[in-house]
Symmetry: C2
Subunit: 215 residues, 2 copies
């Protein structure tokens, strides 16, 4: 696909909503549908139709009167735009509980993320592999960086190592850090950080549940 997008022009709230539309399209396609109206997309996502039209126009998708959007086209454009059709290689740092869990999640690969190696400093894990992915000692990173063209690092170490490992990742040439630790890491401005703290989400849920029950 040659279409070029000016991705800097796509606002973050739109970026956050695009995967919802993609999921609905995948679901409808699996049910044999070929077109989806903005009304249907709106019903399935709870997002108002005018917002959906605006979001999709950011990736140059325009619906057709009466029939709506062609599902195959929407899938192509969204999967491509969201980066799911390109393989992004990644290293994982910290092959403990959560790290191993992620190594076992083959869903990531379907969405464009291929973890090619993991690093740890625990002698019980180093030298073994998890879900077929080799675990090396963290001192081997330089060699492995030269072999693979890796720009993404997944950070799943304990919090007391998080900043130190993040610092080293940056030195070794990692450009984007997917931070699963509940610590807010500090990085240079040109490094991308995506925070995904399961525990922070958990506390939000507990809080909402408590306040619902107080009503």
């Amino acid at each position: 696909m040659d279409t070029q997008y000016n991705i800097e022009k796509v606002p973050e709230p739109t970026l956050r909503r695009l995967p919802w539309y993609l999921s609905v399209c995948r679901l409808l396609k699996s049910q044999g549908e070929t077109f989806v109206s903005s009304t249907r997309l709106s019903k399935e996502t709870n997002i108002v139709a005018s917002q959906i039209a605006k979001d999709l126009s950011c990736v140059n998708i325009v619906g057709r009167t009466r029939v709506g959007y062609e599902i195959d086209n929407l899938l192509d454009v969204l999967e491509h735009f969201l980066g799911f059709t390109t393989v992004h290689k990644a290293f994982l740092f910290g092959a403990g509980q959560l790290g191993s869990a992620l190594l076992n999640d083959t869903g990531l690969k379907q969405f464009g993320l291929e973890v090619v190696a993991a690093f740890d400093n625990n002698p019980k894990i180093v030298g073994h592999s998890v879900a077929g992915i080799p675990v090396y000692h963290i001192s081997e990173i330089a060699t492995k960086m030269r072999r693979h063209n890796v720009k993404i690092g997944i950070l799943t170490v304990p919090i007391d190592n998080a900043q130190e490992v993040a610092d080293r990742m940056v030195v070794w040439g990692i450009k984007a850090i997917w931070n699963f630790t509940p610590l807010r890491i500090r990085v240079p401005e040109d490094i991308v950080v995506q925070n995904t703290s399961l525990y922070a989400h958990l506390s939000l849920m507990f809080n909402r549940l408590d306040s619902m029950e107080d009503k």
Copy 2:
């Protein structure tokens, strides 16, 4: 702890920041510190000191001039407030790749979430256990709901079952759904939904990385 918080008064952005402060406190405590200044908290989290003071005052924590905040006190109040000191029982729906990964993550229990049972409809998994947690057929849910006082359901089924399973969870009495599917599920107003779509986070990271590289 008897302190009562009016949790409805704590704004969501504050709720999202509180776990960051908690992590810093845990880290500093492990390093032998007993007090933390708002300047230090600010440096570690990249949040301005005045915002930190405002956030912490929402949970009735006020710093002392010169010494700052007592770490043990901060830890107590934040862990309690964020719900990490209470055990919240949960059922997990869909013991596939991601579901099994979560069952293996013992970190969740440390943060107050105990998965007591999982449900699936795959005969290869049903009747077995994952990380010591039994996997039942989804038809057994009514019996299990009566036995356990469970209000939280973790949704890790494939997207084509997501809405159906969510509907059934609500019928069975689940009050909060932790939705890991990339689908936006529809639920009644009094049901809490916490969306944690790893794949949506992945696409945000890919996009930021691409736009960084274009610079």
